[in-house]
């Protein structure tokens, strides 16, 4: 029953610590204008707008999509606002795609953003609800114990995280939109950076960024006429599980494994490592690369770190991971998931410039959020599914 959906336009802003040159409407407009330009379309061609961002408290604006309606050309159109924690950028793209797949609209604009410089994201993530469980300082405070658990369980060498951090920052040097451009990045530089949440060092953590990402999605026959060949959506999947309960494996969460299985089944993939050409995944702290390699079924449980050590995830490896520099190089939280999804689409459209993987025909985009409990992912390809 579902219609085919193609990604015909992709735009992103320059990602930076503080985009003081633009307001929030200016930021989302920058990404949306670029996506429309890429699609060769105007505002009147868009039937509906789907906006995603992480907590409204980051900017201190409640339901900001109402205020942003004008800058996104939404008046007179349907406007949806998705929020599924850190996975939101991915979920937003999936909701936008479902509007095409269901046959409801012909062309949909989807935009995700975060302007973190309006507040302090680390303390914004330090949840201390009355009578609730305090999750210590920042997201790193929550995730460091999971990383320690992973190292203990897998016996991974201590420097795997450092290698990921160096690789992703080297990739970011090839991406003009990336926030961090650390020209002299090295193993020693990461190793000597301050320990924030043991074992996560400063340079093994993502930065806090301002930025937006936008995509134009279109029905099959319209996508075929796009000026640049579209990326076709082969499969999407979302899964959620509760934050905590006895017996939950937060290091290798069931929701992620289940979403990946569902995704591969829908895309007709039996050997993801061989059949997927590159993957852009949500790695806010370096150690999550090997952890997600296992969760996504690219490596056996306990062996994900070997992929990093062997260079399999480098740009010239057999499964390049985070070609754009990833979340470790730019993290406007609400937009980060969509940036991953968009990078996968850029790769199969041969639009990734210096970080283009030669011959990329099928790519994975992945995002997660909450306490490693919300997962969204898609597979896009240069050919129709």
């Amino acid at each position: 029953m579902a219609e085919l959906c193609g990604i015909v336009g992709i735009g992103q802003t320059k990602l930076a610590a503080k985009r003081v040159d633009v307001s929030m409407p200016g930021l989302v407009r920058e990404a949306a204008d670029r996506a429309l330009l890429d699609a060769g379309l105007g505002w009147a061609d868009i039937d509906a707008v789907v906006v995603g961002k992480a907590p409204d408290t980051f900017e201190g604006c409640m339901l900001p999509e109402l205020y942003l309606a004008d800058s996104l050309g939404a008046p007179g159109k349907p406007l949806l606002r998705v929020h599924t924690a850190g996975s939101v950028g991915g979920s937003t793209a999936i909701v936008a795609a479902s509007l095409i797949q269901a046959g409801i609209h012909d062309r949909v604009l989807t935009v995700a953003y975060e302007k973190q410089s309006e507040s302090n994201a680390m303390w914004g993530l330090t949840i201390s609800a009355p009578f609730g469980v305090a999750v210590v300082a920042g997201a790193g405070g929550f995730f460091a114990p999971l990383v320690r658990g992973y190292i203990r369980r897998s016996g991974a060498p201590a420097d795997v995280g450092i290698r990921v951090a160096v690789k992703d920052r080297l990739n970011a040097l090839k991406n003009p939109y990336a926030h961090l451009h650390l020209k002299d990045i090295s193993h020693e530089m990461v190793e000597q950076s301050p320990m924030l949440w043991d074992p996560i060092r400063l340079l093994e953590a993502c930065p806090s960024s301002d930025g937006a990402c936008a995509m134009v999605l279109a029905r099959e026959d319209l996508a075929q006429r796009a000026p640049t060949p579209p990326a076709w959506i082969h499969a999407t999947a979302m899964r959620s599980e509760p934050t905590m309960f006895a017996g939950r494996d937060a290091i290798n969460p069931e929701a992620g494994k289940m979403a990946a299985r569902d995704l591969y089944a829908k895309a007709g993939i039996t050997n993801p490592r061989r059949e997927i050409d590159c993957a852009e995944i949500y790695v806010p702290f370096s150690w999550f690369e090997p952890m997600w390699m296992e969760n996504l079924g690219f490596a056996e449980e306990g062996a994900g770190w070997r992929m990093t050590l062997e260079g399999a995830t480098a740009l010239d490896g057999d499964l390049p991971v985070n070609m754009s520099g990833g979340v470790l190089s730019s993290n406007p939280i609400g937009a980060s998931g969509m940036l991953r999804f968009a990078e996968a689409a850029m790769q199969v459209r041969k639009q990734a410039g210096e970080h283009q993987i030669e011959g990329a025909r099928r790519a994975l985009g992945h995002a997660y959020g909450g306490g490693s409990q919300y997962f969204s992912m898609w597979i896009v390809g240069s050919e129709k599914p």
């Binding site: 409204d56 309606a69 007179g76 479902s98 979302m238």
Partner: protein, 350 residues
């Protein structure tokens, strides 16, 4: 389009929940709506919710709410930072893709912990308007004043709307306020923000609501008379009050047209109108005939649980179709200052 129906509806409202958190409010509502749907919990293939972090005053506030639905093994799930009515829309879209045949939808909010009228100032232009902290009642009053000055109604019409809603609310156990006052009694009361008096403003409260949806054959297999969604659409207007004609609601007009309100008779309308004049503006925008019963629940004037209230309107119409009390009805949800964003849902029995 696939046929999709509401199978069941449950709600909980209170002026102030002092003993229970959001999960504790939601759990019995979710249990009740699933039991009444005729579907086993394991047969519900998608879950979607609507809520606002700002009501709980913490980021990712909806994450803990997952505990109320028992997301294990992991579930297909999504969340909108909008009223539960938009969560229902997302679930309806998901069913339209053919990927799932059933969905649980819920909306919840606890606004009594803060002052909702002040908090809503944070939905306005953050650079130029929010710093002035206009109260929600004041913004509504600007619209009410414009409506009266256009000659469409008077302060007496506002009191008549309030009196009818308050009288209707007497038979609704989920209403937060109700009353038997005459129009003259209401008109003798002081202004909150001229021309609005306290009874023209919403009875804000805490609570949750939930709906179970199912597609065609599945709905028919468990329900003798499902409440079919015959049309659903939502539209938004520009944010700034100065660029809109506040005496009408164009986005609601458009959504009503797309949802096909006028295609057949309307027995009942449940309109999300937290202010008296909004009911009149929306009645006109939606094309609700004079013969229809409007807000038999007492509406948002008598129980306004932000983020759940729109889903409750859909539930109130569906409930009356499920029971055979009505054959065709229209439900409406709104968001934003002076009715900026509107959703319209047409429901019908077989």
């Amino acid at each position: 389009m696939r046929d999709v129906a509401v199978l069941s509806f449950a709600q909980s409202t209170a002026a102030r929940e002092t003993e229970r958190n959001e999960v504790e409010i939601l759990m019995p509502v979710v249990r009740e709506v699933i039991a009444a749907s005729g579907l086993e919990r394991s047969r519900i293939e998608f879950t979607c919710s609507g809520s606002s972090d700002f009501l709980q005053g913490q980021p990712f506030a909806f994450v803990m709410a997952l505990d109320a639905v028992g997301a294990w093994p992991p579930i297909r799930e999504s969340h909108v930072e909008q009223d539960g009515a938009w969560a229902l829309y997302e679930a309806w879209v998901k069913i339209q893709t053919g990927e799932v045949d059933s969905a649980l939808v819920y909306g919840f909010g606890k606004s009594a912990a803060g002052n909702l009228g002040d908090i809503l100032a944070m939905t306005l232009d953050p650079y130029c308007v929010t710093p002035l902290w206009p109260h929600a009642d004041s913004i509504a009053a600007l619209q009410a004043r414009a409506w009266i000055e256009s000659g469409k109604g008077s302060e007496r019409s506002l009191a008549e709307i309030a009196a009818r809603n308050r009288a209707a609310a007497r038979s609704n156990p989920h209403a937060i306020v109700s009353g038997t006052e005459t129009v003259d009694e209401l008109l003798s009361r002081p202004y909150v923000a001229s021309p609005l008096r306290a009874h023209d403003c919403p009875a804000n409260g805490d609570g949750a609501s939930a709906i179970v949806l199912a597609a065609g054959d599945l709905a028919r297999s468990v329900s003798k008379r499902p409440a079919w969604i015959r049309g659903i659409d939502h539209r938004v207007d520009p944010a700034a009050l100065g660029v809109r004609d506040l005496t009408r609601c164009r986005s609601a007009e458009l959504a009503a047209q797309k949802a096909g309100v006028a295609r057949d008779k309307i027995d009942i309308a449940e309109i999300y109108a937290p202010y008296s004049h909004e009911e009149a503006i929306l009645r006109e925008a939606l094309g609700v005939p004079d013969t229809a019963s409007v807000n038999p629940s007492g509406g948002a004037l008598c129980a306004h649980v932000m983020m759940s209230c729109g889903l409750q309107r859909i539930g109130e119409v569906a409930r009356r179709i499920l029971s055979g009390e009505a054959d065709r009805g229209v439900a409406h949800a709104a968001h934003g200052p002076a009715l900026q964003q509107n959703l319209v849902c047409v429901l019908e029995g077989d």
